[in-house]
């Protein structure tokens, strides 16, 4: 969840990964060896792929229409017919949970990608355009002094609940952290001898950014992006849980839990199943992030 802003040149990790190319085992074998050496990447990544498959293949996984209401079979216990039982409106919870993977993963990945791209742009700008740095950093400080969930809640209060709006709200809340991280990396890279050499050689700013700076932000950014993905999935569930997220009819894990709230003392399974799926998915992403952090930059692993 936290990544120190003062990451000193994770250059070697990337560079050495590129120089091992000649000879040796093939790409597939090297990938397998990498997974064996970093079990948390293998486990987290595998679990995440499984969840993604569940979401994509939802219609084929013996599900029924997740929004189909049937008053006659309300609040059933789990059984052979309704694997996870039914909710207060008689909807099949198994189908809702399986379809719910789509919303969570969509929100998680979209927020991670969007906030990375926007944060990267802002961070690069602040790191290179010195006069803008002060202003940008004050704005970022201001945004970071509003707790992220509260910021997302406040933004959601302005709009209708929809998956798109949830993504935008969480992205805005996450951007400052990425921007600050990238700026820190840029500032430390600018002092590196090879960047100074490039400047001395007369390289223009775009070339320095794209050839020397950008590739080195990749390692810390990808780690940060996985943590943002995990946190976005939790925030989405929280927003939906308190009724400020995706529309109630949409099957999302937060929504299913919100519906189970009134009945949790007698029908705890309504909350239990989506809770298990959500926790497992977030765990998978976090493990992936930890593994990436350890493998991309061993020095980072020690500091956090």
């Amino acid at each position: 969840m936290t990544t120190p802003s003062s990451i000193s040149a994770p250059a070697e990790a990337v560079a050495s990964a590129e120089t091992v190319k000649p000879a040796g085992p093939g790409r597939g074998a090297r990938f397998l060896r990498y997974l064996r050496r970093h079990p948390s990447v293998a486990f987290g990544g595998g679990l995440l792929v499984l969840m993604a498959l569940i979401g994509i293949l939802a219609p084929l996984l013996w599900t029924v229409d997740p929004t189909a209401i049937s008053p006659a079979r309300r609040t059933r216990m789990p059984s052979e017919l309704y694997w996870f039982g039914t909710d207060m409106l008689g909807r099949d919870i198994y189908s809702r949970v399986i379809y719910g993977a789509r919303v969570s993963l969509l929100v998680g990945f979209s927020v991670a990608i969007l906030s990375s791209i926007i944060g990267l742009t802002i961070g690069l700008f602040a790191g290179f355009v010195r006069w803008a740095d002060g202003i940008i950093m004050r704005i970022i400080d201001g945004m970071m002094s509003i707790p992220p969930i509260l910021l997302a809640i406040a933004l959601m209060a302005l709009t209708r609940g929809s998956v798109g709006n949830v993504i935008v709200a969480i992205t805005i809340a996450e951007i400052p952290r990425v921007a600050r991280l990238v700026r820190g990396v840029v500032l430390s890279l600018r002092e590196q001898p090879y960047v100074e050499a490039a400047v001395a050689n007369g390289a223009r700013v775009p070339r320095i950014i794209f050839r020397h700076i950008l590739p080195n932000t990749f390692a810390p950014m990808s780690v940060q992006a996985t943590y943002i993905c995990a946190s976005a999935m939790i925030v989405e569930a929280i927003l939906s849980f308190i009724g400020a997220g995706v529309p109630p009819a949409t099957p999302s894990w937060g929504n299913i839990m919100a519906e189970g709230r009134a009945l949790w003392q007698v029908r705890p399974h309504i909350i239990l199943f989506p809770a298990m799926f959500l926790s497992l998915t977030v765990l998978a992403v976090n493990l992936l992030g930890d593994g990436l952090r350890d493998s991309l930059d061993p020095r980072l692993a020690k500091s956090i």
Binding site: A154, L158, A275
Partner: protein, 313 residues
């Protein structure tokens, strides 16, 4: 030192100004026309216009922001649309449960997390360390409300040790107050513990490699003194920093925890305000929480000199 304190306080002014601007803009761009709402269904367009002018809603953005800021500085956060009560009064009514919950969680989390991190670092690589770090990953992964319902189901519903939900003001006795807050505090504390334990472990790992630690051990200082006196003191600054930054997690988590355990605090107030689109209340709560967050972290910055006498400004 004094110059530093002044400088540090001054740097929080632009931050709070930005927060204020954001919070004000929230109401400014919020859907729905306050003048039309106040005028009612029967009002003619001219009536609405007159009310708009009397409320000052027809004036430019920056002037309205200036006026609004001036009122906020005087302690006026506006009036709730739904209850017609002053927002400050609503916040005052709800502040006790939230403050109780957060302080209890803070104490509980620090008491658990710091020794956990210290021992994990001391026994680095052992099963204790692995167990503690696995717990930390789980703490980050299991959402607050899932923990809340699990604990409530187990300890309140099945074992019947603690009350399921609700809140008892501290004025009605310490034990009833505490009993209602035990489960919510554990729930809210889990992520916080994970965060603090991780940072404590990482910092301690570095400190334990220092020469003075080896010297202390060579002198025959008891292991617990080496860990908790010699080393922990030197690891204090990052730990205290993360305790402050983590308050953001507590604030976000309180909103959810209070919903799960039916605690009538500021979190509940926020959720209700969202559902009713009661913008002045949302504004007030966001502004207040942010102010608290900024002030706590300011305070922590200022206490560095107490924690670590080597730091001088």
């Amino acid at each position: 030192m004094f110059a530093f304190v002044v400088r540090r306080i001054i740097t929080t002014i632009p931050v709070m100004a930005f927060v204020a601007l954001f919070v004000f803009s929230l109401l400014y761009i919020a859907p729905g026309d306050p003048a039309a709402i106040i005028a009612g269904d029967q009002a003619s367009p001219a009536d609405v216009e007159r009310i708009r002018a009397s409320l000052g809603l027809d004036r430019p953005y920056l002037i309205r922001f200036g006026e609004w800021s001036w009122r906020v500085l005087q302690g006026d956060l506006g009036t709730s649309i739904f209850t017609s009560l002053p927002v400050t009064q609503l916040i005052a009514q709800r502040i006790e449960p939230t403050v109780s919950l957060m302080i209890l969680t803070l104490i509980f989390a620090v008491i658990v997390a710091v020794p956990m991190g210290v021992i994990a670092a001391w026994k680095a690589g052992s099963w204790i360390d692995k167990g503690a770090m696995a717990f930390a990953v789980l703490g980050f992964s299991v959402p607050v409300f899932v923990v809340g319902y699990l604990l409530a189901y187990l300890f309140a519903l099945k074992l019947d040790w603690l009350p399921v939900q609700g809140y008892t003001p501290i004025a009605q006795g310490f034990w009833p107050w505490l009993k209602n807050l035990i489960l919510p505090s554990i729930t809210l504390g889990l992520v916080y513990i994970a965060l603090i334990a991780r940072i404590t472990r990482a910092t301690m790992l570095e400190v334990l490699q220092q020469d003075y630690v080896r010297t202390a051990q060579a002198k025959g200082v008891a292991q617990k003194d080496v860990l908790f006196l010699h080393s922990l003191k030197n690891a204090a600054v990052p730990i205290v920093t993360i305790v402050g930054i983590g308050i953001a997690l507590l604030i976000g988590g309180a909103v959810v925890t209070e919903s799960v355990f039916a605690i009538p605090g500021l979190g509940r107030l926020t959720v209700d305000a969202i559902l009713r689109r009661d913008y002045p209340v949302i504004q007030g709560v966001v502004l207040m929480f942010s102010l608290v967050y900024v002030l706590v972290n300011l305070l922590i910055d200022l206490t560095y000199t107490l924690v670590d006498p080597r730091i001088r400004y």
